[in-house]
Amino acid sequence: MKKTDILEKYPPRMENVLLLLHDLQNNSRMNYLSEKDLSLVAHHLNTTLSSIYGVASYYSMFSLTPRGAHIIRICRSPVCHCAGVNDVFNELTRILKLDVGATTPDRLFTLETTECLGQCDLAPAMTIDNVVYGKLTATSIATIIAQYRAQFRKKSASQGD
């Protein structure tokens, strides 16, 4: 979708800023909001770049730096914590060779932590983009990551044909 089309979906009122930022970020191949995006929003809402930056930088779901194709959000809240999320988390950082907030060199994954995802009956839980994964173990996490990687290889191979 063209950025101008996204902007035009919303009347130019400040109350629409979060929806605009969500849409622009979802539309970005690298899952982030560029300075250009923020300027476009500021212009559309007839306000300053700094005020849009102020909003975008406050909310943890927005990123102002490029991220990977898939965003992993692993829950570190009390319930998942007690269900042993640390073991899962350690395995995840080991497999991906990543620290929190970092992106894999192939730009496939960005690893983030999050507070409660509301999936406490499935603790420990995480999301990859819009998909929820629960009852995670060190083994299941490896399988899930492998699936995404296989999909990615298949896609790159077919694009190479």
């Binding site: 969500h22 009390p78 007690c82 009956d121």
Partner: protein, 426 residues
Amino acid sequence: MITEYNIALRNVGKINPASIQDYMDRGGYEALKKALQIPSEKVVHDITLSGLRGRGGAGFSTGLKKKYTSQASCVLLECMRYIVCNADEGEPGTFKDRIIMEGDPHLLIEGMVIAAYGVGAERGYIYIRGEYHQSITMIRNALVHAHAHGFLGNNILGSGFSLDIEIKLGAGSYLCGEELTLLESLEGKRGYPRIKPPFPAESGLFGKPTLINNVETLSHIPAIMINGARWYRQLGTETSPGTKIFTISGDVQNPGYVEVEMGVSLSDLIYRVAGGMKDGKPFKAALLGGAAGTFVPESLLDVSMDFDALKEKGAVLGSGAVIVMSNDQSILTMLDSILRFFEHESCGKCVPCRVGTKQLVDLLEKLKGADDKRSDHIDALVYQSELMAKTALCPLGQSPVLAINSAVRYFRDELETTQISQSRCR
């Protein structure tokens, strides 16, 4: 016997939530038709009579909120009022609103239209947390269908009453679940809390009278309209009438959710609803109400789960989260997780919370590593959290004291002796 009720969970799991026809086949939107035929004051009066209290955590009378909002004087020529549904569910251990939105989105919308009619609101917003993708999809779809069937929009069902509802999304801030902060976020600002008063009923969204209710609260309204206030009052306890959805997680056999009468005992929730302790391990504590909640020990297993009985015991019902801990778990590490949560979610607007949440984490870190003077560190934690509760601007800074005080009251011995490395959760 534990009787499950289906008021807020009336259709969850029984209908295709994407189908408005399914909802209508089970009596959906009949309550709205009934409500629109009686004067709006009567709607508010009935909800007040039912004794329904806010299910978001604070437990304020829903009817009174509506009465204040409907009576708020209008200084401007046009008398705009708003209704806002707080669907920014983020309290650890809580997922009741998600279950309703994913499983029965029209029930929420119907309750919201009735409430809006009661207070005379013409515009509504449902503020859903950004991570709840499925809820967002279901509500978005339901709004379109409700509109197409004339349950939303201009002149609803020929009554002369009009209401439009829009979805707004959060973006990862726990604090935005606090009602005044939610309004700031709805207006497109950083999620910083406002100073109370004025209350939203008087000056809320864009400075106009605004009714803010939680998803679960609004979902009780259709049943009250159909069956009457007296019927609702028969359920639950004298001061906390009706039913409540409890979300049970942690070391139980079957984590999940249930809708039962207010006043159910904690032990019934654990042993009858959730199938008992996981692997038969001994019960140590339950954290009620999530991170902004309180620990209760074994001696309180028989406590009545309602707003006032828990308050009497120095505990809170909160959002209905029940996080169960077995003997394997350490209070100290749970407290650590809670305090880090608040440190992460503090918005930084007021000094007591910005500095205080960090200090509490540091103090706990000291306590974890201390060989002696552990008692002094514990007293310092209590002192700091109480100071913060008295001086912080909003409920976030006023919350850590709940977990700290209850942990110290019931588990002081453990806090004075535990070695962190013994615990499973580090």
